[in-house]
C-alpha cells in the first residue's frame, strides 16, 4: 500500500527537504520542515472549491 496520506500534522516533511539534503548532505530523514498550517488554511478558505474539497476530505476522515 502506498503511503500517500496528505500531510496534516504540525511538523511536516516535504520535498524541500530533498533540496536541503542535496545541498548540505546527510540523509533526508535528518531534516524536518515546520510549516505554517494557518497560512494553508487561509488559502483554502479563500477559494470556494478548495474549501469544499477540504471539508469533504475532513468529513470522510472523521467517518473512518
Amino acid at each position: 500500500m502506498n503511503n500517500l496520506a496528505t500531510k496534516s500534522s504540525q511538523i511536516l516533511t516535504s520535498s524541500d527537504i530533498e533540496n536541503l539534503a542535496r545541498r548540505f548532505g546527510g540523509k533526508s530523514d535528518d531534516y524536518i520542515e515546520i510549516m505554517n498550517t494557518q497560512k494553508n488554511q487561509k488559502t483554502i478558505n479563500k477559494y470556494a472549491l478548495l474549501k469544499e474539497i477540504d471539508d469533504a476530505l475532513k468529513t470522510s476522515k472523521e467517518k473512518k
Binding site: 502506498n2 500517500l4 500531510k7 516535504s14 472549491l49
Partner: protein, 237 residues
C-alpha cells in the same frame, strides 16, 4: 533502461511538449534516449521534425517487429516511435510498452512514454523502478483531480515512483502562487519546482524544434534541465 511515463492529469496540459523537450535535454548528456508516443493524437513526431504527412506509426502494424520500422531519429539523436493514425486499444498500448523492453539498449538509456491523459496510469504494466510523472497546472480543477488521484493511488498496490510536476506555471498569477505554495507544503510527491509558462516552448514547436535548440538560454530550457537533473537523482535513488 530507465522508464519514464509522462501524462497530463487532464487533457491539454502539455505532456507531449514536455516529453520532447525533456528527451532532447537528456540526450545532451550523451545517453541514449528513446521517446514512444502512446497517444492517439500522434503529435510527438511533430516536435522532433517529423513531416506532417507522415501519419503512420506503431499502431498501424500488427507486430512489434513491423513497428520497429517506424522508429526515427531526430537531429539531436533522440530515437522516437510515432503512434500512427490507428486508434490502439489499451491491450495494444500495454503490448507496445512491454515490447519496448526488447529494445537493445544500455542500462544508462532512458525511455520516455508520452501517455494519453484519459488512460489511468495504474492500467499500465508499471514496475518498481519506473517513474511516473503526472503533469498538472496550477488551477482549481487540477487541485480537485490531484486529491481524487491521491485517493485512487492509496487503494492501489503500487511500487512505482509517482510524482506530480507543475507545468505552464504563471508567476504573475496570485491563484497559481497560492495553489503551488499549498501543494508544496501539503501534498505528497509534488516535485519541488515547476516548469514556467514560456512562449519559447510554443515558438519552438511552431519552428519544428525544441526549446534547447531554439532558445538554449531561455527560462523554459532551464526548467527542462532542472526536470532532467531531478529525474536523474530520482532514478538513482
Amino acid at each position: 533502461m530507465q522508464r519514464i511515463f509522462i501524462k497530463g492529469i487532464k487533457g491539454g496540459i502539455g505532456s507531449t511538449s514536455v516529453v520532447a523537450n525533456l528527451a532532447c535535454v537528456l540526450k545532451k548528456s550523451d545517453v541514449d534516449v528513446v521517446a514512444i508516443d502512446l497517444d492517439v493524437k500522434s503529435d510527438l513526431g511533430l516536435h522532433f521534425g517529423l513531416k506532417w504527412t507522415a501519419t503512420k506509426g506503431w499502431s498501424n502494424e500488427s507486430t512489434f517487429d513491423d513497428a520497429l520500422l517506424h522508429f526515427r531519429k531526430d537531429s539531436d539523436g533522440v530515437l522516437f516511435l510515432p503512434h500512427g493514425d490507428n486508434e490502439a486499444t489499451l491491450d495494444e498500448i500495454i503490448a507496445t510498452i512491454n515490447n519496448c523492453k526488447k529494445l537493445d539498449y544500455k542500462e544508462s538509456a532512458w525511455i520516455i512514454f508520452d501517455c494519453p491523459s484519459h488512460i489511468n496510469i495504474s492500467h499500465y504494466p508499471l514496475e518498481e523502478n519506473d517513474i511516473v510523472i503526472e503533469l498538472v497546472t496550477c488551477d482549481a480543477i487540477c487541485h480537485s483531480l490531484i486529491y481524487k488521484r491521491l485517493q485512487t493511488l492509496k487503494s492501489v498496490e503500487s511500487s512505482w515512483k509517482h510524482f506530480f510536476v507543475v507545468n505552464r506555471y504563471n508567476a504573475a498569477s496570485v491563484l497559481e502562487f497560492d495553489l503551488f505554495s499549498l501543494w508544496q507544503s501539503t501534498l505528497p510527491f509534488m516535485a519541488p519546482f515547476f516548469i514556467n509558462s514560456d512562449e519559447v516552448i510554443k515558438e519552438a514547436t511552431a519552428n519544428r524544434n525544441v526549446a534547447l535548440n531554439c532558445a538554449p538560454y531561455s527560462v523554459a530550457n532551464d526548467d527542462f534541465e532542472t526536470l532532467a537533473g531531478w529525474l536523474v537523482s530520482k532514478a538513482a535513488n
